[in-house]
């Protein structure tokens, strides 16, 4: 065991020669929403998740605001949500039980815990219902000697030391802390630290969380791990040239999409009344379409339906709906009905419909089958004899 620790420690030291090397054995075990935050799967909540995505609807949901609203009272032109309906970020008391005295001193010295919502500090903070996400993470427990870690958010220098001063764009989620709970640790982050105070349609961004560990013996021995969250609030463009063709109990819709160069899928909506983006709850739909056409089936002949098509990007951002088209399923005479209407005698099925001539032919057929089987049997016997 000791030998193993020495080897692993050596590896860490070697990696540390490049200051922003990955942390050996780093893993995000689980990400959860707290205080009413329900994270979508695309947020990458499991240990196996390789990407962490947030789209426009996610942003509204995680911040618990409606489109056009903002949690930031200074935002111009945006509707301000009163604190009574959505709890605005507020300063929380920091009771950092995990950190040592030294760590606390260092944090005080650097004065870097400058998040406006006061979210820095360890696991003892009181939260008073602020919407948060928690990240359960761990590193390999075989590090030699005493180590420190810190967690920052924003746009930071990857090679920074654990107690580097915070900047306007890089603030601490957790100050320099002794790395004592090797197997697993949890950091809770207010959603506003990750997403900001509003969701600006059309914008894209990337938010990074930096995990840094550093040896107490040699400050040059350190490693860094980055967790990246991609925010994409830019919906794809609308489809054009929506055309509806009426069939029997079905409507076939086709469309063009010249504007979207990224990979997109399509979602077809239909309903027997006019609808818009705000009234989609009861509207039937079919998603994940890659072709620019779809046949809606199971419709009622003679009933009018409205149809719309939305575009979705990799983040599941949904475009606005173009002008709906409408159509009514009609009666159609198919190939068999045409045959029957013209007087065709065939009744279908697999019963015997042979006439007298047919019966005679069937008898010939039977004899032929017997002869064939006999011939094949004879041939096989001859072949077998030759083989002997």
């Amino acid at each position: 065991m000791t030998v193993r620790r020495i080897l692993i420690g050596t590896l860490v030291v070697l990696w540390s020669s490049a200051a922003w090397a990955d942390i050996y054995g780093f893993a995000v075990n689980k990400i959860e929403g707290l205080n009413g935050v329900e994270l979508d799967d695309r947020f990458g909540v499991t240990a196996s998740a390789t990407e962490h995505l947030v789209n426009y609807k996610d942003c509204l949901s995680y911040l618990n605001i409606d489109a056009g609203q903002s949690l930031n009272p200074d935002a111009e032109g945006a509707e301000v949500v009163e604190p009574a309906t959505v709890e605005t970020p507020e300063v929380v008391e920091v009771v950092d039980t995990a950190a040592t005295d030294t760590a606390t001193d260092t944090a005080t010295d650097t004065g870097s815990d400058t998040g406006s919502d006061g979210s820095g500090g360890g696991g003892g903070e009181t939260t008073t219902g602020i919407r948060k996400i928690s990240i359960d993470w761990s590193v390999n427990d075989s590090l030699l000697g005493k180590w420190w870690y810190s967690i920052r958010i924003g746009s930071c220098t990857e090679s920074s030391e654990v107690d580097e001063a915070a900047t306007d764009t890089c603030t601490y989620l957790r100050q320099k802390t002794e790395l004592v709970r090797y197997s697993t640790d949890t950091i809770e982050i207010p959603v506003t630290r990750l997403l900001g105070y509003e969701c600006t349609k059309g914008s894209t961004d990337e938010v990074r969380i930096y995990f840094t560990i550093q040896s107490d013996v040699d400050y040059n021995q350190r490693a860094n791990q980055t967790l990246s969250f991609e925010l994409d609030y830019d919906p794809p463009k609308e489809v054009t040239n929506l055309v509806l063709e009426e069939g029997e109990k079905n409507l076939s819709v086709t469309w063009d999409d010249e504007a979207n160069t990224e990979t997109v899928t399509y979602k077809v909506y239909w309903y027997d009344a006019e609808f818009d983006e705000g009234t989609l709850a009861d509207v039937s739909s079919k998603a994940d379409l890659t072709a620019k056409s779809y046949q809606i089936t199971g419709l009622e002949i003679g009933k009018k339906y409205w149809v719309g098509v939305a575009t979705l990007d990799d983040f599941d951002n949904e475009s606005s709906l173009p002008d709906l088209v409408q159509g009514t399923p009609v009666l159609v005479t198919d190939g068999f009905e045409s045959y029957k209407q013209a007087g065709g005698a065939e009744k279908g099925g697999f019963g015997c419909s042979m006439g007298e001539r047919g019966a005679a032919s069937a008898a010939v057929l039977f004899l032929a089958v017997v002869a064939l089987v006999a011939a094949l049997g004879g041939a096989r016997r001859s072949s077998a004899r030759r083989g002997e």
Binding site: E245, E246, G247, E248, K249, N250, S252, Q295, T297, V330, L331, V332, T333, D334, G335, F336, E337, S338, Y339, K340, Q341, A342, G343, G344, A345, E346, K347, G348, G349, F350, S353, M354, G355, R357, G358, A360, S361, A362, L365, A368, V369, L372, A375, L376, G378, A379, S383
Partner: protein
Amino acid sequence: MSRIALALLVGVVCPAVLVAESPRNVNLEFKLAAWYVPEVDSEFAAGVHPYKDVYGDSSLLLFQSRADYLIYSGVFGTVAAGGGFGYGQKTGHGFLSDGETKASDSTTLHLLPLEFGVLYAYDWLAQRWSIPVVPYGRFDFAHAFWWFTDGVGDTASYTVNDEKAADGLGGTWGFRLTGGARLLLDVFAPAMARTFDVDFGVNNSYLLVEYVWCKLDDFGSSSSIHLGGSYINFGLAFEF
């Protein structure tokens, strides 16, 4: 000197006989039909052609495969017996209720023909002297499963007064006469043919073209759909 010349002549004319081939037991064919328009409209009086109205008069796309067991092979040629199956379909557009306007809905006739019968091929010249053309003929009994589908892919049916009067699927018996010719490919690439035989046991490879006259109407039944027709098959054949 004359012996050397004779040996060279034999080597050029009939290289296939210089290397012993593995035994031939099975004939395998893969074919694609051209110009096959089922004679559905032959059931009706002149001027009535529901099949043509819906599906047009272009060929149905039909793929077939077949295997025959060689019963006899010698100086009189080869006799084999076996069977095969295929799949074909033709898609058209039905009509709106006015009976004249074509609907956007497609409707498809599907065919799954089965056949079994006897093949005769005069291939002695090809086997003995490498003359590459092999004429052949075949007689088969046939049975075709068929079904129509409507605009949403469901099996069609015919209703009268909201009651189903007929199913748009069934099976029809008949027979098939075939005459054609095969082109023996081995003579054009003998080395490749030998490799094909050694590695895969394929004695001979052929290109084939055949004319088919098919009568599929339950042997003349007046209550059966007529799916026969005359058409040309193109394909490949292999002897193992």
